[in-house]
């Protein structure tokens, strides 16, 4: 399956999407923008600059997260947060990750003490005029609370409950996967595992597609098994301009080379037109990037000094 086909099939207007904290699929981000999907809600422990990119033409207009990483350098994004074109609720890295975990475990809610003693507990924090209050409307018309403070029935102590998150679709990049969709990830994994387990559909782009035998000699790197994955697509440089642990570093020159990224409406428009709408897929985007700025730029980002296991894990059974 191609990224085009996977997004066409599994991402719909208005969906809630999980887009990861630190292994970002720009290949899928760009495809969502190209296909003009509208009104997505992005959830992640921290949302990253790919969400800023998806907000420019309204692909994403709602956000539930603990951290807006890089987004505030974007004047368009700030403007849309002010006038309500982007709506959001603030949680934390841990509470969002645990909410995804609850979703993945099939639990209705999860407990964590992060908001205790803070202004997250003030009415205006979760129900401000540009909040996601409407998204919490239940079938009977009432609004579900964004969290609940209870006295624990077990020890009587104060406890905070957070509702489970169950995104419609997860988009993520990974180091490697096999054709069955067994996904392997390493390095700081942040919210990845529970983002994938909690989402109804999972679309994965992989830097490398490897045989099952590679997966099964190191099964401890698998974050979700293939049956949980709706589509797996081979996309070299699938995280560019962000990095991929062990493969390539983040491209710090990208923003200045391509015209300042999402910082102004003008530069965002030019970027989207040339680098996303103007390319047919991620391979085309990478080819254009190489053609415009030279092969060396990308080659220099490649990690050369990779670690080799001193004593690989031993599995055995007889």
């Amino acid at each position: 399956m191609t990224a085009h086909e996977a997004v066409k099939r599994f991402v719909n207007d208005g969906d809630t999407i999980y887009s990861g904290f630190n292994i970002i699929s720009f290949a899928l981000t760009n495809e969502i923008i190209r296909q003009g999907i509208k009104g997505l809600k992005a959830v992640a422990g921290s949302v990253t600059p790919n969400v800023t990119m998806m907000s420019i033409d309204g692909n994403v207009n709602r956000i539930e997260t603990g951290y807006l990483s890089g987004t505030l350098r974007s004047k368009p994004f700030q403007e849309m947060m002010r006038d309500g074109r982007v709506k959001w609720n603030d949680y934390t890295n841990m509470t969002i990750t645990l909410r995804l975990m609850a979703g993945g475990l099939g639990m209705p809610f999860i407990c964590a003490n992060s908001f205790l003693g803070t202004d997250y507990l003030l009415e205006g924090t979760m129900n401000h005029t540009r909040s996601l209050k409407e998204d919490r409307r239940r079938d009977d018309g009432s609004i579900a609370p964004p969290y609940a403070v209870i006295d624990s029935p077990f020890d009587g102590k104060k406890a905070l409950l957070y509702p489970a998150l169950k995104p419609d679709v997860a988009i993520v990049h990974c180091q490697r996967a096999d054709e069955e969709g067994n996904v392997q990830v390493w390095g700081p994994q942040a919210d990845t595992k529970w983002g994938l387990w909690s989402s109804r559909n999972v679309i994965v782009t992989a830097e490398e597609i490897v045989p099952r035998s590679v997966i099964s000699t190191e099964p401890h790197f698998t974050v979700v098994p293939g049956f949980k994955v709706s589509a797996v697509i081979h996309e070299p440089w699938g995280s560019h301009p962000s990095g991929l642990n062990g493969y390539y570093r983040a491209d710090k020159e990208w923003a200045s080379l391509t015209g300042a990224g999402m910082t102004t409406w003008e530069s965002a428009r030019e970027y989207l037109d040339e680098w996303i709408y103007g390319t047919k897929d991620h391979a085309d985007y990478i080819a254009r990037y190489k053609e415009r700025f030279g092969e060396d730029l990308l080659n220099d980002l490649k990690v050369k000094d990779t670690m080799v296991p001193e004593q690989p894990a031993r599995y055995g059974w007889r």
């Binding site: 934390t92 003693g117 803070t118 924090t125 390095g187 942040a190 919210d191 529970w194």
Partner: protein
């Protein structure tokens, strides 16, 4: 004063802030390190006086142990280099969930945009939600860490927009409204908390992590060349001053060289930022 100390003018106030923060980190303790300058301060501590400190960040890597002296301080909390020499490469449930929320983080190093009289931190916004003067990225793991770390070392420059009687938004619980605040909120005791700025070091007036004492910020040490009045002029409430107020030792040659080396190309000490 150590014999190899530097004179004022040989280092910047931002460098002193990084060094003062690093000096609060103890060898052997398990530490959760937040975004920004804490990454540099904790790296300095690790290379300088706390080689056995467990340098952990919220995205999952636990016990960053640089295998070469040349490795600079991590730039972000998910920096690819954080798995260098690491004991574990986990995820947020491991790091913020089991390690921090589980109560195993002996110290935390956190930056914030604002701090208030009782050590509550703000990383959310200046102004209000309905009328923000400036929207900030949000808490990340700051709130999660403040709720559960055994001790918090916060750091930010001493400026009137940052030091508030009450933070514009309390993202992260310190001692909340004073003695008993943490217990009433349902949180465990915490301390001794510290706040290192570019001019001085603050402690908090509570001996038992928030039940007794005023729980207010206390001026503990002035940095070389800084007068008491310069600090009290910036802090907007009637600041408590330690009866044992002293001057902090200036950076040593080793500390300063390490900070400059570790801040590879000015990733953290961006001129004009702090």
């Amino acid at each position: 004063m150590p014999v190899n100390s530097l004179a004022t003018g040989e280092y910047t106030s931002s460098e002193m802030m990084i060094i003062a923060t690093a000096r609060q980190i103890r060898d052997g303790e398990s530490t959760i390190v937040g975004m920004g300058p804490p990454l540099l301060s904790a790296a300095l501590a690790k290379y300088h006086h706390a080689p056995n400190m467990w340098y952990c960040t919220e995205s999952g890597p636990l016990d960053w142990t640089p295998t070469s002296k040349d490795l600079p301080a991590p730039i972000g909390i998910a920096d690819h280099s954080l798995t260098q020499g690491a004991a574990m490469s986990g995820d947020m449930v491991d790091a913020l969930g089991a390690f921090v929320n589980g109560g195993w983080a002996q110290s935390a190093v956190l930056q914030a945009a604002q701090i208030d009289r009782f050590g509550n931190l703000n990383t959310m916004l200046a102004g209000t939600f309905e009328d923000p003067i400036r929207r900030l990225p949000g808490t990340g793991g700051n709130a999660d860490i403040g709720a559960s770390a055994q001790r918090v070392i916060s750091t930010m420059p001493l400026e009137t927009r940052r030091f508030k009687e009450r933070a514009d938004f309390r993202t992260t619980a310190g001692y909340i409204d004073g003695p008993g605040g943490r217990a009433e909120a349902g949180l465990a005791p915490q301390g001794p908390n510290m706040c290192a700025t570019n001019m001085c070091l603050f402690s908090f007036d509570t001996a038992d992590g928030g039940s007794t004492g005023s729980c207010e910020m206390v001026l503990e040490q002035l940095f070389p060349g800084i007068a008491l009045e310069e600090v009290t002029a910036i802090v907007p409430w009637d600041l408590k001053v330690s009866p044992g107020l002293s001057y902090m030792d200036p950076p040593t040659v080793e500390e300063l060289e390490l900070v400059r080396h570790l801040d590879d190309g000015g990733n953290h000490l961006i001129p004009g930022r702090y």
